[in-house]
């Protein structure tokens, strides 16, 4: 059995709010409207709401699951406890790969945006090098540094990027929202299914749970973070519905960035470049948290110090970015990661919970028998 984390490495429960929110909102918010509006048109906002509620349920489930973990441990000790060293280890390794993949996808898709909008002539490796060196700096500082990065990754974009989107209401066509419920429930649920991927990110909680002081009390903060995420997605969705029409949005790759073309101030005419630059602060915490989570699994499983595994993982990510250049390849990668993430969080976690729950029941029943 592993020891509980030393108290000086712990963080306050309310910081979960920033970590969960920072990891949920990523590159997806720039372009999630397209598939949703294709499926559900002006009713797409309902799908956003539905998926948000589903995420609430999954967060609740995750807290219930982690409560079973021995001595406030993480998912790795949970796996070990219920599946034994070997099979549990295999499951945890799978999770390690998933976290690494998540970091890689976010990095890759942000690099793509920079390349398309700002620096078309630069190679991907230059950005990924800068990014990964920064990640090394942050993650080697430990979880508390990662958490504080998440804090700024929430606050700064919220006060700078978010208000910019409201400028586009100058061109609002409110009738685009009508008629409400013009799509079948099946279409809306299918759109909600697409939307669910945008809420991913809170599954990192499975790893940093032991780092929370008085962890169960942090649940309300995780829910609050998810509520804020839902609110932001909902606002962006509403603005996009009244700003674009259904056909037009099909021709826009990143509708949210194109929205940011509308505000104009005398000294900067094109705000979307500012948005893209500030977006580093949105993307960076996700990469840092997932890289941290991956190295943490490596430490728990193989007793490799994070300082050792970190450079290896970052090198792998760096080499990976050299191979993905084409837009279609990156898109396929994103879809694939989304599928994996979806099955981890919406299929694997509930199944695991059911298994752990029945195992505990059976154990109790056996103990009560004389």
């Amino acid at each position: 059995m592993k020891q509980a984390v030393d108290e000086r490495f712990l963080i306050s429960p309310f910081l979960v709010f920033f970590i969960v929110h920072a990891t949920q909102v990523g590159v997806g918010v720039l372009g999630f409207q397209r598939p949703l509006m294709k499926e559900a048109g002006q009713d797409a906002w309902m799908a956003v709401l539905l998926a948000g509620l589903a995420a609430h349920a999954l967060i609740w489930l995750m807290y219930r699951l982690l409560a079973y973990s021995p001595s406030d441990g993480d998912i790795v000790s949970l796996h070990e406890h219920y599946f034994g060293r070997w099979f549990g280890g295999v499951l945890s390794t799978g999770l390690l790969f998933y976290y690494a993949l998540a970091a890689f996808t976010v990095l890759q898709s942000y690099i793509e945006i920079i390349k398309v909008w700002v620096f078309p002539l630069m190679g991907a490796w230059q950005f990924s090098l800068i990014f990964l060196v920064l990640t090394y700096y942050v993650v080697s500082g430990g979880f508390r540094v990662v958490a504080s990065l998440c804090f700024w990754g929430v606050v700064i974009p919220l006060v700078t990027i978010f208000p910019m989107l409201f400028f586009s209401l100058e061109y609002a066509q409110y009738r685009n929202l009508l008629p409400v419920f013009d799509h079948s429930p099946a279409q809306i649920i299918k759109a909600a299914n697409d939307m669910a991927l945008q809420y991913l990110g809170f599954e990192m909680l499975l790893m940093y749970y032991p780092f929370l002081k008085n962890a169960p009390s942090s649940q309300k903060w995780a829910h609050a973070a998810n509520a804020l995420t839902t609110f932001i997605y909902l606002t962006v969705m509403f603005i996009s519905i009244i700003f674009y029409n259904k056909e037009q949005i099909e021709h826009v790759t990143w509708p949210t960035l194109t929205l940011a073309k509308i505000p104009q101030v005398p000294f900067i005419e094109r705000m979307e470049y500012i948005v893209i630059s500030i977006y580093v602060l949105v993307v960076f915490p996700i990469i840092a948290v997932s890289v941290w989570a991956a190295t943490r699994i490596a430490k728990q499983l193989f007793s490799v110090r994070q300082r050792r595994s970190l450079p290896v993982l970052l090198a792998c990510l760096f080499i990976g970015t050299l191979f993905f250049q084409e837009k279609t390849a990156i898109e396929r990668l994103m879809q694939w990661t989304a599928k994996v993430g979806f099955s981890v969080i919406a299929v694997y976690v509930p199944l695991l919970y059911v298994y752990v729950w029945t195992a505990e029941k059976v154990k109790k029943a056996l103990q009560q028998k004389p």
Binding site: V116, M122, Y171, P179, N245, E269
Partner: protein, 361 residues
């Protein structure tokens, strides 16, 4: 020491990555013209050259090519400095070019991350090149003459709002068609002459600047615009007109089923100020304005009906009536709506409130 060297190395390595473009080493295009002449596309770019202080002089580059996409690279071959299109403010299409369709250009603009959404588009009678030449010649330091002309007229006069975003919005919308400002050459001047109408990206007709006032109101833009109305038969020329200035207007559309046909009721409420009116209306005591109001309403209704009929004949929908009907119909069917559209019964009803007549009586 080791850390310092590391930083120095990083700085040296990364410093080489910068690709800077200082402002005086690029050619900033501000206006662009597209024409189609003798089976060739002609592209015209207007760029400012900076002289002393704030003095700028518009300069032009022209080139022709058998294809559209080739124009900017070909312009480059005539320019000493690299061409940047990030500051484009206006793209002018010659009428012939617009009749052949401007989809190619607008699609490429929609994909171009460098141009802004506030870019104006416009149609020139005759050739765009000629118009741009005139503005370059007649304006001394204002290189943005045409874009400012459009902006001014949208903000305070009859022209409905247009820009790249709105053009694309209406172009892609299943329930509306785009329109653009229309310019004409008048002697040595360029004059805004109304609104050019498009069907599927092709120029099909235009309405006058006077009628664009009605378009502006019917599109739901609440403020600005002037409209001259004939209210009587007496007096000399010009003695029976009033000038109506729109202070606030609101259209309300209502979609009704009438047997197996549909009707569209359009009621427009205008708050107007009338400052210019003939002297016989000033007769003290007699309340002649009530009568004039009725006449104004009737004439506005008649003109709206004429405008609707023109759009129906041309089978275009710049007012977005289809989009309105979509918003009140479940499972709106575009095909069947536009099949019905040419003989749709559209009934405009106008109410004018004369808020004031200036500070004199």
């Amino acid at each position: 020491m080791r850390r310092g060297l590391l930083w120095l190395g990083a700085l040296l390595l990364l410093g080489g990555c910068a690709s800077s473009r200082p402002i005086d080493e690029i050619q900033i295009i501000q206006q662009m013209g597209y024409d189609f002449e003798d089976n060739h596309y002609v592209g015209t770019a207007v760029y400012p050259t900076f002289k002393q202080g704030s003095m700028t002089k518009p300069n032009m580059l022209t080139t022709s090519s058998p294809t559209v996409y080739d124009l900017i690279p070909r312009l480059s071959s005539k320019s000493a400095l690299p061409i940047e299109e990030g500051q484009l403010r206006l793209i002018l299409f010659g009428k012939q070019f617009a009749e052949r369709g401007i989809e190619q250009i607008t699609h490429s603009l929609a994909r171009n991350n460098k141009v802004g959404s506030h870019l104006f588009l416009g149609v020139a009678e005759g050739s765009a090149k000629e118009l741009l030449e005139i503005t370059a010649k007649t304006t001394l330091s204002d290189t943005l003459y045409l874009p400012n002309l459009v902006k001014q007229n949208e903000q305070s006069m009859n022209l409905p709002k247009t820009n790249l975003h709105l053009f694309l919005y209406r172009y892609f919308s299943p329930g509306s068609d785009p329109f653009l400002p229309y310019f004409e050459k008048k002697g040595e001047f360029v004059k805004l002459e109304g609104v050019a109408l498009f069907r599927d990206g092709r120029y099909v007709g235009r309405v006058s600047l006077r009628d664009s006032f009605l378009m502006k109101i019917l599109l739901g833009e609440t403020k600005n615009g002037v409209y001259q109305l004939k209210v009587g038969e007496r007096g000399k020329q010009g003695e029976d007109r009033v000038m109506l200035q729109n202070l606030w207007a609101k259209p309300t559309y209502r979609w009704k089923r009438d047997g197996n046909r549909h009707t569209l009721d359009v009621s427009v409420h205008i708050h107007a100020s009338v400052k210019d009116y003939p002297s016989w209306l000033d007769e003290p005591g007699a309340n002649l304005f009530a009568d004039v109001k009725k006449k104004m309403e009737k004439e506005l209704e008649q003109n709206m009906r004429r405008l609707f009929r023109y759009f129906q004949e041309k089978r275009i929908d710049p007012l977005g009536i289809g989009d309105f009907v979509r918003s009140v119909t479940r499972q709106w069917d575009r095909e069947s709506f536009y099949r019905e559209y040419p003989d749709l019964d559209i009934r405009p009803r106008v109410t004018v409130d004369i808020i004031h007549t200036g500070i004199g009586e």
